[in-house]
Point group: C2
Chain length 270, copies 2
Amino acid sequence: MSRNAPGEPGDGPQEDAPEGAPEDAADGARDRLAPVLRPVRTGNGFEEALEQILRVLRLGLVPAGERLPAERELAGRLGVSRVTLREVLRVLHEEGLVTSRRGRYGGTFVLPRAEAGGTRDAGGAAELRRRTASVDLEDVLRFREVLEVGAAGLCAAQGLDGAGAARLRAALAGTRDTPPGGYRRGDTLLHLTLAELSGSPTLAAQYAAVRATLNDLLECIPLLVRNLEHSQRQHTALVEAVLDRNPEAARERMREHCAGTAALLRGFLA
Amino acid sequence: MSRNAPGEPGDGPQEDAPEGAPEDAADGARDRLAPVLRPVRTGNGFEEALEQILRVLRLGLVPAGERLPAERELAGRLGVSRVTLREVLRVLHEEGLVTSRRGRYGGTFVLPRAEAGGTRDAGGAAELRRRTASVDLEDVLRFREVLEVGAAGLCAAQGLDGAGAARLRAALAGTRDTPPGGYRRGDTLLHLTLAELSGSPTLAAQYAAVRATLNDLLECIPLLVRNLEHSQRQHTALVEAVLDRNPEAARERMREHCAGTAALLRGFLA
DNA sequence: GCCCTAAGGTATGGCGTTGGACCATTGCCT
DNA sequence: AGGCAATGGTCCAACGCCATACCTTAGGGC
């Protein structure tokens, strides 16, 4: 659905492409083109905008009770017209995810998930299952690990300035004192912070996309206390390695951390 | 221009975000949203399709003299209508990049770059300069290294099947016996092959995008024979490490390889 | 208490894109 | 030689999205 989201497993036949004469490669070249020739602008702009806003909500970037940016700004940021954006917000309102207030200091506010009535759950769950089924799990897990390990390595290698280090520490702290059930939001924010601090906006954006997909998948499996504690230790060690400017250690910590999640997901979903 | 291409350096103010009260984070949250709230569908579909085809040409995925996929297939793959695609091809034809032949076994063929007359060079060079200026060099280099190192690590860690190993060896060989001036095409194909073999289609697609940007940048700097020989040795060592299923070595080789290119580009463009 | 401002709510004309159908051309195969 | 099939070339009605302007609501400041 989203162009950013990894997807479309097995998009075409995966021939061996035995590197024949480069001249008759008309058919052999077709596979080569696969990574580049992907659908431009999948679906209508409405769906893409919806996906983006949903991503913001799923990542917990705007917690319940908080306000989304104003319609005009949001539309501008997403590159769609306000009409289209409003269509998106209307859907989200019908799903019980947001509510709008007029007047100055009004806006569109995020509702707590629990408030969602029957309609949302039915549609949401179906949507989730549909989305989950269409995702290439291995693709997601591999890509995620590459980005995460890369981000950790970059942060550790180049070092963080004072503000960056503070943000990272704050994000780590945010994973501890967290409301029950809000752990994954803290976890997401910590990893996203690291991605942002890597100094590559593209990396951060790609990570946000893949993380949203990952969160969908994680919602399908139970949250185990043991894993949680384990994760916490790993997070601490990871942040330490980054702040110590030890790239090898940071990468290795992150690799282990990702491997844990990956094993969990493979076990529950494979 | 392309949503996949890294870009838009410094999209907004980078406040410290001192993790204040989460409730008044209305303004503080804005920065958090930056990675997610990127323009959906930058520009019209026409421009995106043009970008994709240009990417195919710049990456050398379809060498001069070869045929692009048929219009109907290309349009289908890119997710645009045939009318729009034809508009793109018309522009490329006017720029002297491709030519079309009707009838069965006809199609749209790629022309050698040298054939380009005055019009193309003028427009092309201007376009290149514009694009180059708008690219965040550090973003590109960092993201590229992350993807490359990740791909190398994945390939080495999971091992390649017979066909994969053969493809990799063939791609390596393709960097040696190459027509003069065609070295970068071989280099691109080798790296792209590795990305494809990583088992993450998303990674491959992202690499293709960033590599296209990188190739644009590389065209601004001279090709040094010493670097070329050095690259060749690194390529050989890299492929060896991958085929030996030695992830650490593969990652390290790739890291060195990327560092070389990065230093070169920083030196010439910084 | 008035007015200004920032926010959501609404309506309209225009342009790009789509999907389909059809024609024109060319080379291979029977 | 004829037909077939794959390809580029052309046209058109319908739809979606966009840009823009304007209205309505509500809170704060003078």
